[in-house]
Symmetry: C2
Subunit: 228 residues, 2 copies
């Protein structure tokens, strides 16, 4: 079941006046095609895609499984014909945010930009997952408030620190313990747990599949895959 | 014809070892579903979407018709079941780039970020259109070089300055002539024409539909809508 192009009648409801400079140009030749105020709306995109755009915001310690669950979630979505994208360190750090360091201001700006980009993806009707530690409540809440109501889904990827540290996939905890990484979240910098996340996934208790499927189920129940 | 979920066999070709922390977790229960290196690739997304991601970069004077042609192009794509998105001043200026002003550095950074975001959208298999004056060749070329070969399509939206000025949809030329806007492109700041754009559209000679359809035809001929 791929996303299908649903009824396009909504385009042709009314002929509204144009406000752009091409007012003065020749109007479209076919009488069947008129303008929808000249602009395709988010709702148009969502109907066409057969899904609602949203931001699934993963937060949690390094090694908690954010990227792994996000990637598995992406795979499940793709298997179901959904359009999705994952923003994570791999595609953000050396691109959009390559000018940012690790000062408090730069960390805030890092999350702010990721939030703004995620918002654009959601506006494009895409199921958008972000996988960043994002340790501060304020930063996460600042992203939540720029999103349309109900489209920001905070997912706490939770595993005890000692479990994350024992996984240590990139050897970062070892370096942090050796004092080679200053202000490492969970060791020498705080991680502020979400107060009321939409979902909490215990990756020490459940496997990757179960976690990813729980996110899928959450979206399904809230109608993100069923656009009227 | 909506984008359809094409053959997903490519997922199940090989079972590769996992390198993420969840190595130690319970493997997926179904023997039918194995990991594709844990990661969905751009090619996977493109096959699923039935289209190739790209960046259609509109450049031209204020009033040349960038946004209008881009919005019409978006509509044509949506009617054909294509997944697309337009980045323009409306969704960038007050969001991602709200911290940027109009100094030379900020202008460069403005285009750099737009390029990086467009790259992410294209990586998500989306037909991505950008509609910014982007007057400097260097800035545009800096975006071109970060994209995979052949996926950056520079479109020169060309209309003579006097035509753009007579349209003056936002009254900006009037203000610029009155000296109220310093360094206004075409009046008091340079516009560097593309040397060899993939497409040039004369919006003073052709109507919006014809221009938008030419972009569509360009993508069609180069196989962007036909993923093997």
């Amino acid at each position: 079941m791929g996303p299908t192009l649903r009824s396009l009648h909504f385009f042709y409801n009314h002929r509204s006046s144009l406000t752009e400079p091409e007012d003065t140009m020749t109007p479209p030749k076919s009488k069947n095609i008129t303008w929808h105020g000249g602009v395709v709306t988010r709702q148009d995109r969502e109907r066409a895609a057969g899904q609602k755009g949203c931001v699934v915001w993963f937060t949690g310690l390094s090694g908690s499984g954010k990227s792994t669950v996000a990637r598995r979630f992406e795979q499940l979505l793709l298997e179901r014909g959904r359009v999705s994208y994952v923003l994570d360190g791999d595609n953000i750090r050396f691109g959009l945010n390559k000018d940012l360091g690790f000062s408090p201001e730069d960390r805030n700006e890092n999350i702010r930009r990721i939030g703004e980009v995620a918002k654009l993806f959601a506006d494009a009707a895409i199921i958008t997952t972000t996988a960043f530690i994002s340790p501060y409540r304020t930063d996460r809440d600042n992203v939540r408030v720029i999103m349309p109501e109900g489209t920001f889904i905070e997912v706490y990827i939770n595993a005890p620190l000692d479990v994350c540290e024992s996984r240590d996939p990139k050897g970062l905890y070892k370096k942090a313990r050796a004092g080679l990484i200053p202000e490492f979240t969970g060791i020498s910098a705080p991680y502020e747990e979400p107060m009321s996340p939409e979902l909490e996934l215990r990756t020490d208790l459940y496997d990757v599949d179960a976690c990813a499927e729980q996110v899928l189920s959450y979206l399904d129940k809230r109608g993100f895959f069923n656009v009227a």
